[in-house]
Amino acid sequence: MKKKQLLILGGGTSGNIFSHRFPKELNMNEWDITVVDKSPIHYYQPGFLFIPFGIYKPEDVVKNKSDLLHPKVNRIFSEIDRILPNENIVRLIDGIQLRYDYLIIGTGVNIAPDEVDGMKGELWGREVLDFYTYDGAVALQMAMKNFRGGNLVIHVTEMPIKCPVAPLEFAFLSDDYFKRIGIRADTHIHYVTPLSGAFTKEEASSVFGNLLNEKNIHIHTEFNIAAVDNKSKEIISWDNRKIPFDLLVTVPTNMGSEMIKRSGIGDELNLIPTNPNTLKANHFDNIFVGGDASDIPTSKAGSVIHFQSEVIIRNLLALINDRPMQAEYHGHSNCFIETGNQKAILIDFDYQNDPTIGKFPIPSIGPLSLLKETRLNHLGKMAFKWIYWSRIIRGKDIPFTS
């Protein structure tokens, strides 16, 4: 008998979780599970934030995918040309075709600096940098080291972005870093956002806004960037506001994989229209979408796919067994926000509930404070790297799951 095929596109957080969970859920005599990813290297993306400040070394965030994926799962390291969803086929770049019965797409989002005029100009990689890629974070460490004061501009191009609090954390950590090396007085830190406040959610926005104030970080809101001027070293908005920089740390537009575009199944950001509760692709009955690759209105963050994975597994098993899909995702997301000075804030929210001030019960560790700066939250954030490598991407429970 020909084995049935479960194909998983993307070997990131999502692909790893499923590679560990499905061999326990499916009869492996009847099923083949295959993960396809273009790169054999797995990056701990939350760690990119710490590299520019020398808190993490580049090697702290890198592992081989082959060592992480479940041994019973096939892996193919190749660029994907496209999905042919009406034929249940994924075509690789070299023409090889993979048939599937069920497909899970977890190909994430990438930065697209080409979307803004001049962003990838002559200063890119030297004075205009990102920290959403490994190369960007490493180059930024050098740029921070060489920075001698002036205008540091931290900038968000457009929403949605991965880990929407990361640029705020970068601002807080910069304040800390410049104080430590003694050039804070010579440095203006600017936080530039297209949003109308520091964050999208009201109470959190005001907490973060106050923190920016306290740390003397200038916030520029509703700034929609039109261009980066490499000659005058300014960012310019569509309504012609100009902010000069000596070092520009930007979060470029985040877009889904080019492969999604080639497949013709994405929206204008190459994100796949997905049911926010069942997590099945809207237009296809045997495709699920996990993590950043979908268009659902939640954060793009590793904790999200952790919370989603159970729903996708249960609904996919329901479809396989001709039962109705009953598991629902309600938008649960949480994250630690590093605020500098060895403190952090924890936020927790879903589709209905905004982050608020309170306590988050964690068995064996005790309650962590929500939306409040504490030393314990900072330790939680630091412990997260260990939790990520040893539990999250192995599809195990984490202490934060309530």
Binding site: E158, M159, P160, P164, P194, L195, S196, T200, K201, E222, N224, A226, W238, D239, D267, E268, L269, P297, T298, S299, S333, F349
Partner: protein
């Protein structure tokens, strides 16, 4: 018959609560309060696209969607709705405020 302005409800930021209350006349009144005094045919092209999308998807289109999918140049949108086309155009189109994603 058009509803009188006094019967129409707005939220605290001035967005229409019920998008079916919207009329072209009302659009002109809202635009006035946003200091856009002359709604041209081009304004209404954008406004009707926003209303269509809202009816279809339950949400106002993002700026990116207006440019990439519907072909309005960003620069022109800023000229038509100075200071923030995404939000202002949605307000004048009588639909709910587009929520930035989280």
């Amino acid at each position: 018959m058009n509803k009188q302005m006094t019967e129409v409800k707005f939220d605290e930021e001035g967005f229409l609560i019920n998008h079916t209350d919207w009329t072209e006349e009302l659009a002109k009144t809202i635009a006035d309060s946003e200091e856009i005094y002359d709604l041209s045919q081009r304004h209404f092209e954008v406004i009707y696209i926003i209303r269509d999308e809202y009816t279809l998807n339950g949400e106002a289109p993002t700026l990116r969607r207006l440019t990439k999918v519907h072909g309005f140049p960003t620069k022109e949108l800023y000229q038509l709705f100075p200071g923030g086309p995404g939000k202002k155009a949605a307000k004048i189109a009588g639909v709910k405020k587009p929520h930035g994603c989280i």
